[in-house]
């Protein structure tokens, strides 16, 4: 072991105490995280899927919003690195949700965790919590703000399949307005040199988003033209009843990804979706399960990227 040359990612020092969002991360930082994640992919494909970088550390997954896959992904990532992982699902039935947030944060902080992974329904909630605790905090999704590990895993998936991100045309399609996945992805991919397009009905595009330098399309056909990557977003069922779009049927007609619309993109275009999918609402089964789909690989990369983030933050913890 001692004769082994250290890989460049071993020398990588993450420059922030928390991972609250993609916004504010430099391009080299993102690329180093992706490099580290590549090593974690290799670990995850071994029979012995264990490292010891988080041995003795306590990781708490604090989810104020129900989640199956993200929570499982973070749990697996922590365990593969040797951390003691505790899942806490906090109901949000009470009206004083914010009070619960700070009280819960203070209580958990007193238990001396090393890393807290947080998902909350309100934008900025993770920032607020990070100010109240002494440990490292990872944003696992805050309202319509950010979901940084999703953007990192998407970037990793694209990089592995296309060999690069620079110069690719990425069309993010659907409910951009309510999507933290879209926000983190557009910042991340633009930072890495991709040309990001936002495609959706006008009622589901965030106001003023053109000011951030993204091309917007309300015509999906035009938006998909020459795209290298088509990234679909989940449409929440409660948005389909007339307030934002008239019906599921009409939405699928204009914004659902089927083989016919996908044919407008480049022939080697790849399809992504953060899951869980609404088949027949934003994406057809034919496309979701087709040869151009990366959806299952995204899930695998999710674990690797979360391992990389946990490890990068753990390196900054005291007594390491």
């Amino acid at each position: 072991m001692s004769t082994e040359k250290p890989s460049p990612s071993k020398l990588f020092a993450f420059p922030h105490p928390h991972l609250l969002g993609i916004d504010g991360l430099s391009r080299p930082t993102i690329e180093s995280l992706l490099d580290l994640a590549e090593e974690e992919v290799a670990i995850s494909r071994q029979v012995e899927k264990k490292k010891s970088s988080l041995r003795g550390r306590t990781q708490i997954n604090l989810f104020f919003e129900p989640s199956t896959r993200t929570q499982a992904s973070f749990e697996l990532a922590g365990k593969r690195l040797g951390a003691d992982v505790m899942n806490m699902a906090v109901g949000n039935s009470s009206t004083k949700k914010g009070e619960t947030l700070i009280d819960t944060a203070m209580t958990l902080n007193a238990m001396r965790p090393d890393i807290i992974v947080v998902r909350h329904h309100a934008a900025g909630a993770v920032h607020l919590l990070a100010r109240k605790v002494d440990c490292a905090v990872i944003n696992a999704g805050d309202g319509a703000h950010e979901h940084p590990t999703q953007a990192l895993l998407d970037a990793l998936t694209i990089r592995r399949n296309k060999g690069r991100i620079e110069g690719l045309v990425v069309a993010i399609c659907g409910d951009i307005l309510h999507s933290r996945v879209a926000r983190s992805n557009m910042i991340c991919l633009a930072n890495l040199g991709a040309r990001v397009r936002l495609v959706g009905p006008p009622t589901l595009l965030p106001p003023g988003i053109e000011g951030l330098g993204f091309e917007t399309f309300t015509d999906m056909r035009a938006g998909l033209k020459d795209a290298d990557i088509v990234m679909m977003l989940r449409l929440q069922r409660e948005r389909m009843s007339g307030a934002f779009i008239p019906s599921q049927k009409e939405y699928y007609r204009y914004y659902g990804l089927d083989a016919e619309k996908l044919a407008l993109a480049r022939p080697d275009a790849l399809v992504m979706h953060p899951g869980p999918m609404n088949r027949g609402v934003e994406i057809s089964s034919e496309v979701a399960d087709g040869a151009q789909s990366l959806i299952r690989e995204q899930v695998e990369m999710g674990v690797a990227v979360r391992m990389a983030v946990l490890e990068a933050l753990a390196r900054r913890l005291p007594n390491h």
Partner: protein
């Protein structure tokens, strides 16, 4: 406040009367709650009067704040008339128009009477209630505008609620006109506000927060202009926040409509970037807008299109502000920092000192029919002594309000009130 006070002589003062813009150096003699003499010779024959040497500082009419929430009745944990008046006195405000959105609301003459009695017993500055336009602030049935006026209400408003039903607003205007009562309206269409919590646009989209479009304000304001044209009521837009609204007000005034407008000290000196990383003290209604809007407001205050500057004092305790931005309450305290923050515009050469003081005293007095806001013989002896060049740093824990939600916390300000006089009595002295 009304018992006998010995005469007070302010000497070496820079006397400024904002209504006329007239400025002179001299003394000011106060007795029996009124200004008895002013000018270079005012001190002569004032033997026996207590002397306050102003050492060249400014003496201006005490400020009249047309919009401040004072907590009573029902929200005494946020503010009381006593604590609000202490904050007011420290900010040079000698008259507060307290907002009607209390619990219960000020929608009944008995509650006007209650507020006035509570103020008489505990407040160090003058307090006049604004009464509700509709019963229970529900936007449907009009209040007893005549009886409320007789009880002492000086204006009518549903506080932070808009009257969405145009027919209700039309009838309110027709009825209020009979009494020449002033209608003050929160011009925000609640449907367009929706779940919005800050200015709609790039920054809100970046933060993942829902936005309030400018049209929430302009749609309501344009409707109201039509109704004023129809009814002839005296109408005041409580807070305008954006450049488009200024154009509407300017046009209405050019058309001769009896329309006036106000803005808050927050909208004049802060912009949406102050929200930063989800600072809930900058969550306001209407929201802070772009720098371009702020600059347009400053210009409109300077040229008088926007008549009045208010503190929009809205005390919120920790439990309603120490939340995520979406879940936090609207509002910022402002009574104590209004003048100092406003002086930023004077020091920047954007608004004249006389106009700033006019927007905070003389104009409100004229709109509300109050005797203050003037430096003249026979005017009430309500005064602010101001050192316009004294630098200080705001520490919210040092402020007098019961709540500490100041967006100016840690701000460096230049100029502060060094003494405040109400009815000839010193109610605040710095140091």
């Amino acid at each position: 406040m009304h018992d006998a006070v010995s005469p007070l002589l302010l000497t070496n003062a820079r006397l400024i009367d904002p209504a006329s813009g007239h400025e002179q150096t001299g003394s000011l003699l106060l007795a029996d709650g009124l200004i008895q003499a002013l000018g270079p010779e005012a001190g002569e024959g004032a033997g026996g009067a207590t002397v306050l040497d102003c050492a060249g500082k400014l003496v201006a009419p005490g400020l009249i704040d047309m919009q401040a929430f004072c907590g009573e009745p029902g929200a005494e944990y946020r503010e009381t008339l006593k604590t609000a008046s202490a904050a007011a006195a420290a900010g040079g405000v000698t008259t507060i128009i307290c907002a009607p959105n209390t619990t219960p609301p000020i929608d009944d003459p008995a509650i006007v009477d209650f507020v006035l009695r509570r103020a008489r017993d505990g407040a160090s500055v003058r307090v006049h209630p604004a009464a509700a336009l509709t019963k229970g602030l529900d936007g449907r049935e009009m209040t007893e505008i005549g009886l409320l006026r007789e009880a002492g209400a000086v204006a009518f408003s549903d506080g932070p609620h808009a009257i969405t039903n145009a027919q209700v607003m039309r009838r309110l205007m027709m009825y209020a006109r009979m009494f020449d009562a002033l209608i003050m309206h929160h011009v925000q269409d609640p449907d367009l506000v929706g779940e919005g919590v800050m200015n709609e646009g790039e920054f809100a989209s970046r933060l993942g927060l829902k936005g309030v479009p400018r049209e929430a304000e302009t749609v309501m304001l344009e409707r109201d202009m039509r109704l004023v044209r129809l009814t002839g009521a005296r109408y005041h837009a409580q807070i305008v926040s954006c450049a488009d609204s200024i154009a509407i007000i300017r046009q209405a005034k050019a058309d001769g409509l009896p329309v006036t407008a106000g803005t808050s000290i927050n909208h004049l000196t802060l912009n949406e970037n102050d929200v930063g990383a989800y600072r809930t003290f900058c969550r306001l209604s209407p929201p802070l807008r772009l720098e371009d809007d702020r600059m347009a407001l400053v210009e409109a205050v300077a040229d008088g299109t926007v008549d009045v500057i208010v503190s929009d004092h809205n005390p919120q305790d920790v439990e309603t502000k120490r939340l995520t931005f979406t879940e936090a309450a609207d509002g910022a305290i402002g009574l104590e920092t209004m003048l100092s923050a406003g002086l930023r515009l004077v020091h920047a050469g954007q608004v004249s000192l006389a106009r700033l003081l006019d927007a905070m005293s003389s104009r409100p007095a004229a709109l509300l029919g109050l005797a203050g806001g003037r430096l003249a013989v026979g005017a009430p002896a309500d005064l602010a002594v101001i050192d316009p060049d004294e630098p200080w740093v705001v520490d919210r824990y040092q402020l007098h309000s019961r709540s500490k939600n100041s967006p100016f916390d840690e701000a460096r300000l230049t100029g502060r009130v060094t003494a405040t006089i109400v009815a000839g009595r010193i109610v605040y002295e710095y140091r």
